[in-house]
Symmetry: C2
Subunit: 556 residues, 2 copies
Amino acid sequence: MPDQPRVEFRTAPERYRHWRLATEGPVATLTMDVDEQGGIVSGYELKLNSYDLGVDIELYDAVQRLRFEHPEVRTVVITSGKPKIFCAGANIRMLAASPHGWKVNFCKFTNETRNGIEDATAHSGQTYLAAVNGTASGGGYELALACEHIMLIDDRSSAVSLPELPLLGVLPGTGGLTRVSDKRHVRRDLADYFSTRAEGVSGKKAVQWRLVDEAVPRPRWDETIAERAAELAARSSRPQDAEGVALTEVRKTRDDGAITYDHVEARLDRDTGKVDISVKGPQNDPPASIAEAAARSADFWPLAVTRELDDLILDLRTNETELGTWVFRTQGDPAQVLAYDNLLLTSREDWFANEVLHYLKRTLRRLDVTSRSLIAVIEPGSCFAGSLLELALAADRSFQLAGVFEDQDPDAEPATVTLGEANLGPLTMSNGLTRLQTRFWGDEAGYEAAAKRKKDALEAEDAADLGLITFAPDDIDWDEEIRIATEERASFSPDALTGLEANYRFAGPETMETKIFGRLSAWQNWIFNRPNAAGPDGALRRFGTGQRAVFDRKRV
Amino acid sequence: MPDQPRVEFRTAPERYRHWRLATEGPVATLTMDVDEQGGIVSGYELKLNSYDLGVDIELYDAVQRLRFEHPEVRTVVITSGKPKIFCAGANIRMLAASPHGWKVNFCKFTNETRNGIEDATAHSGQTYLAAVNGTASGGGYELALACEHIMLIDDRSSAVSLPELPLLGVLPGTGGLTRVSDKRHVRRDLADYFSTRAEGVSGKKAVQWRLVDEAVPRPRWDETIAERAAELAARSSRPQDAEGVALTEVRKTRDDGAITYDHVEARLDRDTGKVDISVKGPQNDPPASIAEAAARSADFWPLAVTRELDDLILDLRTNETELGTWVFRTQGDPAQVLAYDNLLLTSREDWFANEVLHYLKRTLRRLDVTSRSLIAVIEPGSCFAGSLLELALAADRSFQLAGVFEDQDPDAEPATVTLGEANLGPLTMSNGLTRLQTRFWGDEAGYEAAAKRKKDALEAEDAADLGLITFAPDDIDWDEEIRIATEERASFSPDALTGLEANYRFAGPETMETKIFGRLSAWQNWIFNRPNAAGPDGALRRFGTGQRAVFDRKRV
């Protein structure tokens, strides 16, 4: 792949090239109609509604806007604007030409978007319906799998398929295997057969095997969509007459050395391979009510800071792959953070509070699956409390200053961390547990001891004793310890660190989401990296050339 | 690595080069004292009690013998025969020189052996105690982690460590990360720190961080071992006066085209890349009692056939990596299989019956994690019933003949499959479910409908309707369908098949074991395969050369 441009994740419906978003009362329709010439990188055409990162950035934007800007929408129909093809999945020439890291990062983002679709269905009363009006293959079928209900047109030609293995020598990369077995409960031998059959399965057999929910003949297609959409909408408790919150463009300046938002700033240190990220707490009291908060719209601090963090994570992950360590600091008044948390948590039945909380949850999950070492640095003047404490709990290690910086500000208040309600339930990780539960997995007493200190501003020694932070160096050792930690991290194999972190961050139970990011992605990454797929004679490179792939037949 | 000799898994204590097995009443001691010159392949020395596949084959043999030959043993102490070093883990020069497939297969086998140690502790009343009398690094510490209780000598020099990441740029490959977090509940940030610290952690800190259970000063070392061994033995319900069952050498002939045992035969078809495996059911009635069964010793059919299958799986996995599809057939009387099952299942409190059942369970689990496509072919004269039906339930696909072979034997009884008690509980997979539960994961009604037909000999149509088999072709289509299935399988990317099977075989919940084989192994395989580890400038290749590894710093 030639020089990759810096990828920009901010977009808006008026700029979409590949999707159309229309709403009519409680039903929105997202129509995929990919512009063949609109690849995010040059060198391939996006034929047959195939997609690349650029197409998926628009889908992500649409899914987010539907939640915030359209409280009235209760069902989202995903369908195709092209005849006979729903979606052909990820573009193969793009995959074949991409370096390994690009493929992996692309799959991660598309996975997150599909998880977001399921999250909207589960937690937002916004249920997704796949109206598969033509063949859905590979990532196209996986997109349908993320929807709650799959309708397949029964026209003797449209089928669903996962042709990655037979055609490309790789796996479906966006959760297909996991959702086929663990969400749709397709029997394992049928799933195996289905996944080796490039032409897929259609009609009644697709229904019998549970691959889709119904096969609908063309004459009844439109009316059935309307019926199903209405049925799904009827389940929802979204408000009828609330006003949406416009997701105005996130303000951002970016140059080679820094990315700056209103509340978040990142300094990129290319010499040491790290990014120093600083997050500002709220500058003022929370609004008196959640209605007033919604009136502040995208400037409401929790929403604003979450959007900035979200954009920053995506930007750094995609554009700054050599910056392997992210160091998080916060700045502000812990009491204010807790006050904002409190407003959200006491208003959870309100649709907007609910959306903000779930968005923060998803953004923190994005951090958890990020292949960068995460370090939290807790200094005087910081506000690692409640929702912002999650940044420290998400970190692979944390350092909290014991005492103060004697030379700089001997009269400062020492740094503290404060557990709040936000740490005890709503912001679950992909494994279904909170970060605090994961931290104390198998140590009930440790969990209880920490949770009991909720609302106490804990100085370093206390926080260390309770196991909430990793290290509590004093003024004298501080700079040295943090320098060593970051320099040492930069000296290790980046691949091994990625594997280590992917294992240690998720103690305890597994869910479909952790299986997708842990098991399936790891296998896919391995396969992507093997000559049988990505080598010059591999299946991915040979696809469409008329030449068959040459395989090393050894089973590993 | 130069020409690999064919690996032989059969061994016996009198032939061990690396371990000493001694028993004294209820306590056995397994002393690791690796012969530096005894590598299974030439080209490296096994210094510092480091191990290779040959060392681990002996350990596996010892663990098996302890269960069958030593009903009196209730505690197994694992310790080192070398001064100051417990075990340095897998030999690094061996790893650096090995092809990818060898490393992966080696890790899989060592993982299975460590799981077997935990299985003995959990199900056999034979509890393992790690007496870590010197430094335990990498796989050495992972061996200790598989034990129920870890004693570390407190001598100011001995430590436990996982130095794979800092020294070699890979991950601990035998469950270390998973056991640290999910078994020993080491806090994730401490685990992260520990795994980046090549010198490890010793003494009180190792206890505080839960890395070991106790740190014991040298003067109290021997007496503490004796105390702990006695405490652990006191928990056991193993019999005091039973006679052991000698595991006489499995009879086997092998040439380039076939591997033949008393009850199992494998024909190796190098042209089509498949192995045809035939398993014979019992030739006679079961003994009248479990005592009589034990008197038959290693010739008792269920034990004999399990040992043969176990050896065959290991042989083919290691020595025949290009034979990618295994086709299972059985031959015999289904009623006899069920009668043997019944003897075992009604005698489960008997130590010997218990051992045979758990051994069969472990062997079937070995099949589940084998990176070969598994196909079951169910024909007239076969005995896919009860325990042997598990072979079909473990398969990725199964074919059952509808009717009979009209030309060959028109009067034959049609092929049947029969569910028995053995399919409904004792033979769990790594995910903690039976193969039948996994098959019907999320389909309670399907499970109930099948289970209700227990003991019914089901012909092909019935079995297909109940979802117990995949396809039921008749005489006319039979040969063609099976030929296509196996030929097609041989045409796919072996790597993609491995990933597909590793995902579909384990629907539903995850356990420490599935995490080790699914998540951790997949990451490790990926890392093993990356230039940062295995490339000419990678950490694994550069270790010990005095030159630092050169890393591509891009995070993937």
